[in-house]
Amino acid sequence: MWPYYESEDWSVLPPELNRRFNPAFNMASIKQAFNEAVERVSTVRMPAPTRLRDLIRQIRAARTAAEERTVVNKECAYIRSTFREEDSVWRCRNIAKLLYIHMLGYPAHFGQLECLKLIASPRFTDKRIGYLGAMLLLDERQDVHLLITNCLKNDLNSSTQFVIGLALCTLGAIASPEMARDLASEVERLMKSANAYIRKKAALCAFRIIRRVPELMEMFLPATRSLITEKNHGVLITGVTLITEMCENSVDTLNHFKKIVPNLVRILKNLILAGYSPEHDVSGVSDPFLQVKILRLLRILGRNDIDASEAMNDILAQVATNTETSKNVGNTILYETVLSIMDIKSESGLRVLAVNILGRFLLNNDKNIRYVALNTLLKTVYVDTSAVQRHRSTILECLKDPDVSIRRRAMELSFALVNSNNIRNMMKELLLFLERADPEFKAQCSSNIVMSAERFAPNKRWHLETLFKVLVAAGNYVRDDVVACTIQLISETQSQQGYAVSALWRALEKDTSDKQPLAQVATWCIGEYGDLLLYGPPSEDVDTPVDLTEDEVIDVYQRLLWNPQNTVVTKQYTLLSLTKLSTRFQKGNEKIRQIIDTFGSNLHIELQQRGIEFSQLFRKYDHLRPALLERMPPMETARPQANGIIGMVNGEPESEEDKSSVLEASTPPSDSSALLDLLGTTDLGITPSVSNKNSSVNSTNVVNNNDLLDLLGSLDLNAPTSTSTLPQAQTPSQIFSPTTNFLVDGLLNSSSVQNDTLSMVVLDKAGLKITFRLERPPDIADLLIINMSAQNFGNAILTDFLFQAAVPKTFQLQMLSPSSTVIPPSGQVSQVLKVTNINKVPLRMRLRISYTGPTGPVLEQTEVNNFPPLTLQ
């Protein structure tokens, strides 16, 4: 018996002489005739299974999914039965069919063991398909892996180079940590083989083994060094790949390989200068694959090392100037060169050259090149802002690109470039972008504009104008925080209130049903400063509406309240605002009262409650109304500035005071002062007896019972306004939370809303312990504050301590500066990290900690995945 596999498919001939194109009588057709004869003979004894080719035809001929399933199921059942019968003759063909079926998405795990049997066969044909099957079908199941490890071990010792090649290729694709440990020594031996074909594959296997099990790196070091002294490009490129991985793995190895910089420079120089070599040429560039790998390794070796950077300056300049840029391949190399130039300690002239290359990229017709240019500028903007600033107009141009990836990058980059000098121009462009942007961009873009404006606004007036434009352009996509920010800004800027109220009035006159946040800000503002709108002194620079009557205002309010498209929150704002207007207006009280009365029977319980409460203010408590609805005092507390990229880039670092005030502002104010605040605004003069929250809840029943209940009753009505004096502590929706006894409720809530804190140890190694204390400020939903503290339990001083953290793209990370870079024995260093989790996905963080200890520089890397669930909310 002899197994064979689709023999008529194999061709020895080079493709140009492939028999499909040369049907003449030749060696291949002899073999084919031969094989067919043999198949006829063998079918006499046993029916041959369908050939792979025929199965594919059958499946392709199926017209419906059901039909295809029938064919596949029938074939699978047949294949299973042959597996049970231990039929080795057709195993190869059956596995090949199974692999095709697997690719269509059908289960094929039952072929796993059969693949191993094929691998164990002495025939190359069987091994080739067997290993292919193993790479496609095997998962990391322990039992099968033991078997395949043995097979691989045998084949790694084979005398045929192609059998060794198959084994190495498979090991490279599916090495589990156990396999890596068991076979590392075999791979190390093969790296020293005399055969280049085996050496290059072994080098990449070593690369994968180190990836899976970093501590196995040591044993490969001696054999690795010699790989880059080769002429063969395959061995060279795999060698460079392996060294790159090793250098990224440990600082010691990185220092060990510093001495190969001259070798790498020489190889690169030869590649550029050695004329045309047909074997490695890609549209006029000599081996771009190897060039890119070398450039990347140079970048890692030259990072933070002046001597190594010095040694590669010249060659980088040469590559940057000599590379042909008409094709993608030339730009590939330039791109890598720019990354290297920006990452190492390169000369300033070279950096200018690099940024100019990126500038040229931005003007390229090829979208892909423009995309990488924006991406790279985003990386370098932190290193050299002024160089990137020069390309600002081109970057702004990319905001109009039809490709969404490019627009996103351009937007991020634009915000990184905003500073106090260019804010007016940049905002003009970004507001235009915001108007036309896809919905997915609007929220992020509007929040970023608000943050930039807050930071760099040239004056209050401009700031307000910008905020209003955001509210108009982004409509319902505006986040809640923008509403709160705008209201606060108006409240604290007394000089601009007249302007604000008339600007907002004009916006409110138009249809605002797709701009709820705008309607909320506008009604709040008109409620507070309605008198300025109607009776305020006309100022020369504000285009105040002339001849506006109270009735017109009330008509618009009526439209807002009756419009079914307005949200309940907007209606709450509107209703409260209307109530306030009753004290601002000089005559229209009766009409206002009627509107409010109709809400006494509103279907929505919250609106109904408000309607009833407010109408009480017109009746039983009419004498209290003017005092209760007085204008709010300006809110002056600083906002927590979640600045993300904007804060870090423009070259104006925040001062220490700023940072501490930011932190303080994010903690909620103490309860008693809030209560005092409340009472202060109501102006009833009963402060001391209720200044303690416990007494307000418990002792009320005993002591001055009536007074207090009365007080609470009236406060209740006023609560929505009064609570807003809490500095930015609640978003508007919280202000209007549907509670019956607002004051007491609010107090109980705020006393229970403590900052959730939690600690976790993320690293405890060699006397260095790093702890995270997690804190979620209750007022900002997606912000997580991490207080990192690094303690030194050793006896030696740790210097150059550098703590770096990276988070996935969906998060924003802001790191404040550390308290020190030196940790004395039993001392500690702390640093604050702020993570904004917009997408509410589990947080992952990669850490890189470097310091100089008693034994020299140390680099630790770790990943933190076990953040407690509180951080996900």
């Binding site: 002899w2 061709s11 020895v12 292919l132 490279g172």
Partner: protein
């Protein structure tokens, strides 16, 4: 390091899949499905890059086939396009002006060629000639085995 490579048709049919990271079968299918839908929905005017989960996806269409690679954050996107192009050139040389049908009916050979170009998600050979030579030599080895088997069967050996 390349994480995986997928070849699929304009109709969304998978033609080749090569995984260099260990994922359970279910997840592989999910990733494949999602990526195919996302890429097919993109317009020809758009760039070849896609930021998707924590990987960068680089894809390019050749005739009716999409070649799609997932790479890590540090990898060079433009070079990945060159790797894709190199693979297409190799297929073309091997099959003689390759078309989708060649890859459907000879998918195993498409895998063999890929395995001579990449190992463990990294490029192992930058010379086209060397890759084709290695493939031809291995094909020859199979051929010899087939002939030998046939001769033995009919009693000539």
């Amino acid at each position: 390091m390349m994480q995986f490579m997928l070849l699929f048709s304009r109709q969304g049919k998978l033609r080749l899949q090569k995984w260099y990271v260990a994922h359970p079968d279910k997840l592989k299918k999910k990733i494949t499905r999602e990526l195919i839908t996302t890429i097919l929905a993109r317009k020809p005017k758009m760039s070849s890059f896609l930021e998707w989960k924590d990987v960068k996806v680089v894809y390019k269409r050749y005739a009716s086939l999409y070649f799609c690679c997932a790479i890590e954050q540090n990898d060079n996107e433009l070079l990945t396009l060159e790797i894709i192009h190199r693979y297409v050139e190799l297929l073309d040389k091997y099959f003689g002006s390759v078309c989708e049908l060649d890859i459907i009916f000879n998918f195993e050979k498409a895998y063999f060629i890929l395995d001579e170009l990449l190992v463990g998600g990294e490029i192992q050979e930058t010379s086209k000639k060397n890759v084709l030579k290695a493939i031809a030599a291995q094909d020859l080895l199979q051929e010899d085995e087939a002939v030998e088997g046939a001769l033995r069967e009919i009693g000539l050996l």
